[in-house]
C-alpha cells in the first residue's frame, strides 16, 4: 500500500513534499535546538562532512565521517581521490545557497522557536562553543571552560579581540547580557528551557563569565554551541529588526534581507579567524520546492542546497553531475502518544506490539527512497548517546507476535485517531502506518491537520490522541529527552512516566563531557527502546546536494540544517 502511494505520486505531490519536510517540522514539532557543526575551533578544517562525488556514490552508499559510519562499509575502497579538495588560500566569489525553509523569517537566536531558522543564523552568529561532528563541544567564542568541582558553576574563558559586526567589542559583559537575554522566557521562548539550570551569570573579569547553576548542567557546553549560545551585539540586541537583520560576531555580515526570498551577506573582514570565510559574498535563498532547488542547482544558478529524499533519490542528483554531502541526523520519525486520552497506550506491551507491527525497512524504501535508517532506539545510530549494542531490529517486524501480545493483554478493537500535517507525504506515511496497524487489529484513523493546528491540538489543548511526525533532532540528547519523554515534556501530553527515566536523565547531566555522560544515555537508550513511550520508525538522512566546484559543506545534526560558513570554491 505504501508502495502504491509512492508510485502514483505526481509532481504536484513533489513540491508539496518540499513544504512538508520543512515546514511540517517547523510548525509542528519540537524545537530542538542545537546543532553541531563540524569544525573545530580555529582551523577551518575540512575535516568531516562526508562528501560523495558522482563516482563514489555510484558504487556505494555513504560514508560520513560524523562517526555514524555505519552504512558504508564498502565505502572506503571506492576511490575517494576527488573527494574533498583542499580549500584555497584566498577568498573569492559569491556563494548562492538554497535553504528549504524560511525559518519563519525570524532569526532572533533566542526568540525564534522555528526549528529551521538555525541555518539562517549560523553564518552570522558565533556561539560560545562549536559542537563538532562527533557531538563534542569545541572552542569558538569561548576558548576554554570548566565546571567547578562541585558542579555548581560553569566558567567560560572568552576569546580576546573579537568584535561584533557593528564594531562593538565582545567581552564578558556582552556574554552576560546575551546569556541573561537567552534565559528569560519573555525575550527567549526558544532558549530559556536550555538554560533552566542557570541561576545567575557573573562577570568574573573582562574575558570570563561564570554561570551559577541550580541543577546539574552537563549539557550546557553543547547547548551553548547552538541558539542558546549565540552572541548578539549588545548594541543591536534591541533593534526592531534584529529578527531579520542579524548582528553577531559570525563570519558573515548581513547586508539586506527580503522576506521569504533571500538574505544577502558580505564576508566579515574583522572576523576573528582570518582563514574564514572563503567567499566574498553569500546569498541564502529560500526555495521551498525540492524540484525547484534541484533545478536551480543543476542549471548553475545556485551552488547547493538541501536535498529532500522524499522527492528525489540520490541518483536524481548524481545523474545531473552534482555531489551529495550527508550526515545522519539526530531526528526521528515517531508516533507520539497521548496516554491520558487512550489508556491502552500506557500499557507497555501494547506499545511493544505496535512497534512490532511496523516494517521499518519497507516504510523507508517506499516513502523515503530507502534513505530513512530503520531504528528501534530513540537516539540515531552513530550519535554518542546511542547505544551501539541495541539491534536496529530490536522489535523485528512480526505481526503475528504483535497480535498475540495484544491478545495476551486483552486488548481488542483498539482504535484511535492520529493527527499529522496535511501535506501529501505525511498523509501517505500515516496511511502506511495505519496499514501496518490494521494487520494487528489496531485501527488508526488519520486526521490530516493544518500545520498551525498540530501543536495546538497535541501540545497546548491536548485534544489529539496521537501525532505522527518527525522530530528534527537536537544538539544534545538532554534536549530530546526533555522535549519528548519526561512527564512534563510537551510531546508527552498524557504525562506518562517511564519508570527509571528521570534518575537516568539527572545522572546524565552530572557528567561534563560526552564520554562521562554516554553511559547514562546508553542505559537510557536501552530503557526507552524497551519501553517505546513513542513508537520509533527511522532516522531521516540529512543530505545536501551541491555543485562539484564547492567544498566545505558542514551539515548540522538537526534535520535540514547546514552551516555554510566554511564553504569554498575549488580552485
Amino acid at each position: 500500500m505504501a508502495q502504491e502511494i509512492v508510485t502514483t505520486r505526481r509532481n504536484r505531490v513533489r513540491w508539496l513534499a518540499a513544504a512538508l519536510a520543512l515546514v511540517l517540522l517547523a510548525g509542528a514539532c519540537g524545537t530542538s535546538d542545537d546543532s553541531d557543526d563540524s569544525d573545530d575551533d580555529s582551523a577551518p578544517a575540512a575535516t568531516d562532512a562526508a562528501t560523495e562525488t558522482a563516482a563514489d556514490v555510484a558504487d556505494d552508499t555513504s560514508d560520513t565521517d560524523t562517526s555514524d559510519a555505519d552504512t558504508g562499509d564498502a565505502a572506503d575502497d571506492a576511490a575517494p581521490a576527488a573527494d574533498e579538495p583542499e580549500p584555497p588560500a584566498g577568498r573569492s566569489g559569491t556563494l548562492l545557497w538554497a535553504l528549504p525553509s524560511n525559518g519563519a523569517n525570524f532569526y532572533d537566536p533566542h526568540a525564534s522557536t522555528n526549528p529551521f531558522a538555525r541555518s539562517w543564523m549560523y553564518p552570522f552568529y558565533d556561539r560560545l562553543t562549536n559542537v563538532d561532528a562527533d557531538g563534542n563541544p569545541q572552542p569558538m567564542l569561548a576558548t576554554s571552560w570548566e565546571f567547578s568541582d562541585d558542579g555548581s558553576s560553569l566558567t567560560f574563558h572568552l576569546r580576546e579581540g573579537v568584535v561584533f559586526h557593528d564594531g562593538a567589542p565582545f567581552n564578558a559583559e556582552a556574554a552576560k547580557l546575551n546569556l541573561d537575554r537567552a534565559r528569560n522566557p519573555q525575550s527567549a521562548p526558544a532558549t530559556f528551557v536550555d538554560l533552566l539550570a542557570v541561576e545567575s551569570v557573573d562577570v568574573v573579569d573582562e574575558y570570563s563569565v561564570r554561570l551559577n547553576l541550580s541543577a546539574p548542567g552537563g549539557a550546557l557546553p553543547m547547548l551553548l554551541g547552538d541558539q542558546a549560545g549565540m552572541m548578539i551585539s549588545p548594541t543591536a540586541m534591541d533593534n526592531e529588526d534584529i529578527g531579520t537583520m542579524p548582528v553577531g560576531a559570525g563570519p558573515f555580515v548581513a547586508t539586506a534581507f527580503r522576506v521569504d526570498e533571500v538574505m544577502f551577506a558580505d564576508a566579515f573582514d574583522d572576523y576573528w579567524d582570518p582563514e574564514i570565510p572563503k567567499v566574498d559574498k553569500l546569498e541564502l535563498r529560500f526555495i521551498l520546492d525540492p524540484q525547484t532547488r534541484l533545478n536551480a542547482i543543476s542549471s548553475g544558478e545556485l551552488h547547493g542546497g538541501f536535498m529532500d529524499v522524499v522527492t528525489h533519490s540520490r541518483d536524481d542528483a548524481i545523474e545531473l553531475g552534482l555531489v551529495i554531502t550527508e550526515r545522519v541526523s539526530t531526528g526521528m520519525f515517531q508516533l507520539f502518544l497521548n496516554t491520558e486520552l487512550v489508556p491502552e497506550f500506557a500499557n507497555v506491551n501494547v506499545r511493544r506490539a505496535m512497534a512490532m507491527a511496523i516494517d521499518q525497512q519497507a516504510f523507508s524504501d517506499a516513502l523515503h527512497h530507502g534513505e530513512c535508517t530503520p531504528s528501534d532506539q530513540v537516539f540515531s545510530k552513530g550519535w554518542w548517546a546511542a547505544n551501539p549494542d541495541i539491534d536496529a531490529d530490536y522489535y523485528p517486524y512480526d505481526p503475528a507476535a504483535a497480535r498475540a501480545l495484544l491478545e495476551a493483554e486483552g486488548v481488542t478493537d483498539l482504535e484511535f485517531t492520529s493527527i499529522t500535517a496535511n501535506l501529501p507525504p505525511f498523509v501517505a506515511m500515516s496511511e502506511a502506518v495505519a496499514g501496518f496497524f490494521a494487520e494487528i487489529g489496531v485501527t488508526m484513523n488519520v486526521a490530516a491537520t493544518p500545520i498551525p493546528e498540530l501543536i495546538a491540538g497535541f501540545i497546548v489543548n491536548k485534544t489529539a490522541e496521537a501525532y505522527f511526525s518527525v522530530n528534527p533532532g537536537a544538539v544534545d540528547p538532554a534536549k530530546l529527552v526533555g522535549t519528548i519523554w519526561l512527564p512534563p515534556s510537551p510531546f508527552n501530553p498524557g504525562g506518562y512516566e517511564v519508570p527509571g527515566l528521570f534518575p537516568l536523565h539527572l545522572q546524565a547531566q552530572s557528567g561534563t563531557t560526552p564520554e562521562e555522560r554516554a553511559g547514562a544515555y546508553h542505559e537510557m537508550a536501552q530503557l526507552l527502546t524497551d519501553e517505546q513511550p513513542t513508537i520509533v520508525f527511522c532516522t531521516p538522512a540529512n543530505l545536501m546536494v551541491h555543485r562539484p566546484e564547492v567544498g566545505g559543506v558542514q551539515i548540522l545534526a538537526t534535520q535540514t540544517d547546514v552551516d555554510v560558513s566554511q564553504i569554498y570554491f575549488v580552485e
Partner: protein, 315 residues
C-alpha cells in the same frame, strides 16, 4: 462608454467591501491560534494570553475588522507575525513580480491563442484546423505542474537557453527580466492560450457565417479586413470573457508557478505565510489580489462596450 465605465466602477465598491470582509473574516473563522505558533511548545497559558493580547486577538472581531479596514484603506496592513516586517512593504515588493508574470503570460496566451483560433476557425475542417485543434486539446489537458518541469528540463537545463529558475526585476535589466519570466510565463500561458484559441475558433466559425461577413466579402474587402476586423471583433466577446476568467485562474496558478520557478512574487510568499499562520500577510495579500481581480473584471466588463456597442446603449 464613459457612462458604462462609471456605472460599472460604482458596482465595484460593494464588491471590494465584500472582498475585504472575506479577507478578514475567513481567517478569523479558521481555527488555529497564531499566538500558539509564536509562543513555542514550552509556553505557558499566560505567555500565550500575553501574546494574544499583544496581537489584539482578545478584542471582538467587529472591532478588529473596523480597525484593520481603516488601516488597510490607508495602505497599512500591519506587520508579519514573526518577522515584524511591514506587510505593505512585502506586498509592494512582490506585486511587480506577480503582475509581470501574469501580464506576460496573458499576453503570450492571447498572442498564441487568438491567431491560432482565428486561423483554425477561418480554415475550419482543414488540416491546419485539425492540427491546431489537437494542439489546443493537448494544451488544455496538460496541467501547469506538468508543463513547467518539462519546460525547465528542456529549455532551462538541457538546452540552457533560458534561466531555469529565478527572477530579475525589470528595473534591474529589462532583457534579463523578460528572460527570467519567459519559461514561467509560457508554462502559465499554455492552458490559457489553448482556451483562448478554442473560444476564438468557435467565435470565428460562428461569426464567419453571419450575413455581415458576407456583405464584407461582397463589398470586396481584403481578407485581412474581413477576418482581422469584422470577424475578429465580433468573435472577441466570448474570448474577452474567457480572458477575464483566466485572470483569476492565473493568480491561483501563479502560486504554484512562483514556487516551481522560484519567483519572489506574492504567491510563493503566500504559501509560506499559510504554513506560518502569518495572518496579517494573508489578509493583506488576499485583499490586494482580490481588489486587482475585481478591478480587472470590471475592466473586462467595460471592454464589452467596445466590442459590442449595444452594451453601451444598455448602460
Amino acid at each position: 462608454m464613459l457612462r458604462l465605465a462609471a456605472r460599472r466602477l460604482l458596482k465595484v465598491i460593494p464588491l471590494l467591501l465584500l472582498v475585504s470582509f472575506i479577507s478578514f473574516g475567513l481567517l478569523n473563522l479558521v481555527p488555529g491560534d497564531p499566538a500558539v505558533q509564536i509562543a513555542g511548545e514550552f509556553a505557558t497559558e499566560e505567555q500565550i494570553e500575553d501574546i494574544r493580547a499583544g496581537l489584539g486577538l482578545d478584542r471582538p472581531w467587529p472591532v478588529r475588522y473596523a480597525s484593520w479596514l481603516g488601516d488597510a484603506v490607508r495602505g497599512d496592513f500591519g506587520v508579519s507575525l514573526f518577522s515584524k516586517v511591514s506587510v505593505a512593504t512585502q506586498i509592494w515588493d512582490r506585486l511587480p513580480a506577480t503582475l509581470s508574470l501574469i501580464g506576460l503570460s496573458l499576453a503570450i496566451s492571447a498572442l498564441i491563442g487568438v491567431p491560432a483560433g482565428t486561423f483554425a476557425g477561418w480554415r475550419e475542417g482543414t488540416v491546419l484546423d485539425r492540427f491546431l485543434t489537437m494542439g489546443t486539446t493537448v494544451g488544455v489537458a496538460v496541467p501547469v505542474f506538468v508543463a513547467a518541469p518539462v519546460l525547465i528540463l528542456i529549455f532551462g537545463i538541457k538546452l540552457d537557453w533560458l534561466p531555469a529558475t529565478g527572477y530579475v526585476p525589470i528595473t534591474a535589466n529589462p532583457i534579463d527580466w523578460a528572460r527570467s519570466l519567459m519559461l514561467p510565463a509560457i508554462a502559465l500561458a499554455l492552458t490559457g492560450a489553448a482556451e483562448i484559441a478554442r473560444q476564438t475558433r468557435a467565435g470565428v466559425i460562428d461569426v464567419k457565417k453571419q450575413d455581415f461577413v458576407r456583405t464584407a466579402h461582397a463589398n470586396g474587402l481584403a481578407t485581412w479586413q474581413v477576418l482581422g476586423k469584422h470577424t475578429l471583433k465580433n468573435a472577441m466577446i466570448p474570448v474577452i470573457t474567457v480572458i477575464g476568467l483566466q485572470i483569476g485562474r492565473l493568480f491561483g496558478l501563479s502560486v504554484l508557478i512562483e514556487q516551481i520557478f522560484n519567483i519572489p512574487g506574492l504567491g510563493s510568499r503566500l504559501i509560506a505565510a499559510v504554513f506560518e499562520n502569518d495572518v496579517p500577510f494573508i489578509q493583506g495579500t488576499v485583499l490586494i489580489l482580490g481588489t486587482v481581480i475585481v478591478l480587472v473584471n470590471a475592466a473586462v466588463d467595460i471592454s464589452y462596450g467596445y466590442f459590442n456597442p449595444r452594451v453601451r446603449a444598455a448602460a
